[in-house]
Symmetry: C2
Subunit: 336 residues, 2 copies
């Protein structure tokens, strides 16, 4: 696995302390939901209780507009749901709409499943029993419209298949989520809490799926999967719809500024979401390393050597540092 | 599953708010490791990093005296390790030394494995490929000495078998842990962080096992399984050996007081650990319910109708409340 968001390797290769670095290697909101408010001591000391879990799930159902025919489950992050899901889904070929977040394919391969990467969600192979679509997609932000998703789900349903929809970045693309429109129960929807709420360290994620699938996943995670602090903070944040709407607007503003900044410095943005921009550069890896030597950590992709993903810097001074650094290293990159 | 430590059901059946209740239904230390110190913002906001995880594991190796030939892994609580372990162990019959914590048996049955409950760890069936021993045992506190454990591990090793040792309560029984003495690698040792450190809501647990098994479990849990706050607080607590030694003494004192209190009120303590007492009573369920009507929540066991488990009350006033309540309800129970 090869993810953004961990400066450990960056500091080993390029030096510096955490304070020296500007980390734009993830799609995590740099403006976290306020967490300074003290937790109740019982959040830390007691086993997480059923009543607190029910409250969290109720807040999640409302925030995500989950239909009544689907059950909802909470987990310590969606990563473990991605990892466990292949063991619970029906046999048969798996089609993954790529290129996308690599953990989906890796999890199916680990579980001994045959996977096929397809480039268009509109042309799934007839034999596919399971289709995986990340929507909006990571890293390119590709959006599949809700009607098409419902139609793909229907096609799969006719052959006893399942659509897995990873909506990790749907919070920042209002209207993108299929959840409010679902009546079928052959769809599994994953929602990430940490990205939009800027609390990736808290470990919280959700799965909405059928009454058949959710209890089986719950059994695999077993009791007390979600921590007490995650129950408390998650419930408060998901219920705070005002914060969510204001943050959506703020992130949309900030991605505009980032896109302009990158364009003015020779980087063409061609995709992304309000949490990250995906840009093209003839030598993205050299650019990534030149930025790293200036202690700015970005994300590049083995499978696409001209792509570089840059998350929101989080402040105007950080954006300015990025702009000045790009201007400074430009001769170095172009002479290569 | 049917565990202690959740007042949700108690309040539905017997009323009251959380503040009304004295919860002695668990074996969780009522004196938590200090957690009021503020965490670094990155513990909440960033994806948990590799460097922080390495620090936690180093602290755990030292605190638990883990030998160099075993690898160590951190998880969001041992419950998920118990749940996943059956999928990773070799085929063959499973012997569980019971009666004990029921999640072990339930997890093997869910994974389609044949289990046999044996009453003595010294008489494991010859055909057993996997043996599960909780040491000290929950709820009776039964201790198997280290030499016997090493000998059981050797016997299993000769037939390609594995010994699973759940040391969830070993922190309060210094000398009980097999970890410092292990040279074989066919032993899986589970360690719970939340019980002894009184931080069950944090969700943190460990597995020490072979270099073959640990990476396979790590893959199943996938990246970022442990939260940022758990990494920070866990590292600090495990490194604080002075707190651990002082707490062991304090808990030994408190269990003495609890044992005397119960004995003076008609309850014979015949087992337990410094975190809980196991007592016998001719009608333990009636006693449990009479205490519940007075908002004291204890733990009883389907399989042993004369057993009642009572955790440390946590303060002299709480102990006094327990004593007075037992004296008050005594006529009610004995007239039944």
């Amino acid at each position: 696995m090869h993810h953004g968001g961990d400066l450990t390797d960056a500091m080993i290769r390029f030096g510096g302390t955490k304070a020296d670095w500007l980390d734009v290697s993830t799609g995590i909101n740099p403006h976290p939901y306020p967490f300074a408010s003290t937790f109740s001591p019982s959040a830390w000391c007691d086993l997480p209780g059923k009543a607190a879990l029910e409250k969290l799930l109720a807040a999640a159902r409302t925030a995500y507009k989950c239909p009544a025919n689907l059950q909802m489950l909470a987990a310590p992050g969606t990563q473990i749901l991605i990892s466990q899901l292949p063991y619970l889904l029906p046999e048969g070929p798996v089609a993954i709409c790529g290129p996308t977040y690599t953990s989906h394919g890796e999890a199916f391969v680990r579980a001994g499943r045959a996977i096929e990467e397809v480039t268009s969600p509109y042309a799934l192979p007839d034999r596919a029993k399971i289709a995986v679509i990340v929507n909006p997609n990571n890293p390119d932000g590709r959006l599949v419209d809700v009607q098409s998703l419902l139609s793909i789900a229907q096609t799969l349903r006719e052959r006893g298949g399942i659509l897995v929809l990873d909506e990790a970045f749907a919070d920042v693309a209002p209207g993108a989520s299929v959840l409010p429109h679902l009546s079928a129960d052959n769809v599994v929807v994953l929602r990430s809490f940490g990205k939009f709420f800027g609390l990736a360290g808290l470990r919280l994620g959700f799965m909405a799926a059928s009454a058949e699938l959710v209890p089986r996943m719950a059994t695999r995670l077993d009791s007390w999967a979600v921590s007490g602090p995650a129950l408390e903070l998650g419930t408060a944040a998901l219920a705070d719809l005002d914060w969510q709407v204001a943050m959506q607007r703020q992130l949309a503003d900030e991605i505009t500024d980032l896109t302009l900044c990158l364009g003015n410095n020779g980087l063409t943005v061609f995709g992304g979401t309000p949490l990250y921009a995906l840009a093209a550069h003839p030598n993205a890896v050299a650019l990534h390393e030149a930025l790293a030597r200036q202690k700015i950590w970005t994300r590049v992709f083995d499978y696409a050597p001209t792509w570089i993903r840059i998350g929101l810097p989080g402040s105007s001074s950080a954006l300015q540092r990025l702009a000045e650094t790009l201007a400074k290293i430009s001769p170095e990159i172009h002479s290569q």
